[in-house]
Amino acid sequence: MNKTMAILVAVLVVAAGAVAAFTLIPGDDDKVSIPEVAEGTGTVYGNADGNCFIDKVDVAIAESIINGERTLEEFPFADADCSGTVDSKDVQLIKDMINKKDMKVKVLDTQDKIISVQYPIKNPIILSGSNLAPLMNILDFSDIVVGAAYNTLDPVRDYSIYNGIESGKITKIGVNGTAADLDIVSELILKKDADVMLCEYSGMYDLDSDVNITQFNEWGLDVLCMECRDPGDDMRSLAVFGILLDRGENVQDYMKFCDEVYKDIKKVEGDKFGTTTVLVSSLKSSLSGTGSGYYPMSITAGGKNLADWSGSIKSVKVGDVWIFEDKYASDVLFLGASSNYGLAEFTDSDIAAYEERYTNHNAWKNDRAFIFSTSTPVVVRIAYMAEFMYPDLFEDGWANGIHQDFVDKYFDTDYTVEESRFIKKLSS
């Protein structure tokens, strides 16, 4: 054969070999990068990497556990059917979840119980506690909600539920965020095929209607209660709900938003971070302790919380002088009360009640006692705390700007945030 022929054949062979190589050997786009460690927020079994999505990465992690590259201890949520081991059944389940097949998934709630929940959620009922409410806007799923229990609705913050109630799409099922009327719920199950009840975990709910959960389950309604009080649990509940409602992107977005705020805080405060001493109260008659949600909040905001009692609160009655001890003489006092977007502001009696207790406190005497609203999202409260603890480091109105950003993003209505409605100085 002549030279040209040989070269042609060689090129063809190489080309054929390359094509074969491409098609036969598993390609790079299936090779997903597995994170080193699971995030641990979206505690849905099957969501191996713990973020807000069930996707190929989770499949890959499960497979890598099967073939021994990784272990179940590193990624406990890869075990989609909670059987104790990861096998092909789990991989299939995860794939079904990606395809949004009608099924039950297992969720680890904030009380460390494993609950079986309908997925994807089509007709939820919600018990809107005061901490769950601000999160609802982020999740933006009110178009599928069929029933809600609430005490009073803030027409601005809770606009989605509010509009739903007004238009009749959403039925009121209870008069506060802790209990649901059985009869009305049964109607919703019957008529509107309600499948899951989402609620904020609260001690009172447990006391009143622990038994109801069993009844609801008998009726085929899954009940998922998640704690929403401190920043960690807040994020976790959001992530879980996000997965179940297919709003992972919203949640991820919000998490980025929060992360940026926290990074900003660290940057602006620099090495002053953690130097200002602070005490926080969320109830008129007590100060929050290390077990309360406000402790980590105040620390994230850059404060040094002087509370040294382990419960969530320690009572402060009028005439108590223990707060005047040197070790509790904080630079700043944050006193919480409810002040809403569309409903009432701080009341005189709230302010008077605090005045009666703290007027001789170090912080009050130095004009550094502030009353703040407990009805805003956690990230906003942290921003306010940071700005008011370090007023000379932050720009005036920085926190308010963040609040306005949040409102612009997640409230459907036009609303201008007035700072004095959400944080105010209490002077002597």
Partner: protein, 357 residues
């Protein structure tokens, strides 16, 4: 025959009177000592006795170098608290002593005509519903005004009814209890519809505490209580005679009905004002007069001062105990109930020996 001469009897009589006066004096002195001691009790673990002495010295002589926090705690908190304890303790005990005599029942207390229940209702109205009869800008004083007004209502009601028809003291007691039930039901209704936070506040208020004492409200309470106690002391002779029974008293020229009603009003006013600030501190009005009777007998002329001294002593000691036992301070009403209760039961069980029932 051993004739007891008149002078012997006179000697005995004067001796017993002297004993009574000594008893009153002794208890009163104890009370003052307890009051002074209570100034040194505080929730601040770092404040020592010498610190307190420094502060007191400063205020008495105007010189000396003191820590402003200690000054504030001792002078703005402890001293008014002690003074209030004195005033309230004696007011409750005196009220109890007189109530027991005019209602002729050893279990009567100043709260028997419904004063405490009315006051709780008034406080609840403010705490739960923000309904203030007169908003003074201060939480404690506004609650106090509500409480005082509502505390007077049951007594006024009973007195009006007693004017219409003849009512025995027993009926008055029972009517007072019935009114207490009614107010209690109304307060429960309010509680059911309220926030847990407010519930805790109202509940604590109702238990009774001296913590709300301050220089602002002390003068008011004292200004009302002292004249009332003096007035009651003025009636003491008549009330002592009333102990013998209405008919006997009337035949001796005592205007029973007028004295009874007037005493009720005075006691109501006095008690309402104290309850308005402290809440319902129980058992002092019940137990102190009985213990006082052990020392000085039933003659109101001695019983009232002795009860006053004893009542203030008990209250001061209870308050100091409540601050020592629980450093964060427990409401004193809890201590008086927990300790007063068994004492009350003991007194009842021993009562079979007394003639008084």
């Amino acid at each position: 025959m051993d004739a007891v001469s008149v002078s012997d009897m006179e000697c005995e009589y004067y001796a017993s009177i002297k004993k009574k006066k000594l008893a009153i004096l002794a208890i009163a002195i104890l009370s003052i000592i307890a009051t002074v001691c209570s100034l040194f009790v505080s929730q601040l673990s770092t404040m020592t006795i010498s610190d307190v002495m420094d502060v007191l010295g400063y205020h008495m002589t105007g010189t000396g170098d003191i820590n402003p926090v200690y000054d504030m705690v001792v002078w703005d908190y402890n001293v008014p608290r002690a003074l209030l304890g004195l005033v309230v303790g004696s007011s409750l005990a005196v009220g109890g002593a007189v109530m027991q005599s005019i209602l002729r029942n050893p279990l009567a207390t100043p709260y028997t005509t419904g004063v405490s229940a009315g006051a709780s209702m008034g406080a609840s109205l403010l705490i739960y519903l923000d309904f203030a009869i007169l908003w003074t800008g201060g939480y404690v004083s506004s609650i106090a005004i509500n409480a005082i007004v509502f505390a007077m209502i049951p007594t006024v009601a009973i007195l009006i009814v007693s004017h219409q028809k003849h009512i025995t003291p027993t009926t008055m007691i029972l009517a007072g209890i019935a009114i207490m039930y009614i107010f209690s039901a109304a307060t429960s209704l309010l509680m059911l519809l309220a926030d847990p936070e407010n519930v805790q506040e109202a509940y604590e208020w109702g238990i009774g505490s001296l913590g709300r004492a301050s220089w602002d409200n002390i003068w008011f309470v004292t200004a009302v209580v002292i004249p009332c106690m003096v007035a009651l002391l003025l009636f003491s002779k008549q009330v002592t005679i009333m102990n013998a029974g209405n008919r006997s008293a009337q035949s001796m020229g005592v205007r029973v009905k007028m004295i009874r009603n007037l005493s009720l009003v005075i006691i109501a006013v006095m008690t309402a004002v104290t309850v308005g600030i402290t809440g319902g501190i129980g058992f002092i009005g019940l137990v102190a007069p009985h213990i006082a009777r052990i020392f000085v007998g039933s003659d109101q002329k001695y019983l009232l001062p002795c009860s006053a001294a004893l009542g203030s002593l008990i209250l001061i000691v209870a308050d100091a105990a409540s601050r020592i036992i629980v450093p964060e301070g427990m409401p004193v009403g809890v201590i008086t109930a927990v300790i007063g209760g068994p004492i009350f039961v003991l007194l009842l069980i021993k009562a079979s020996k007394k003639v008084w029932f």
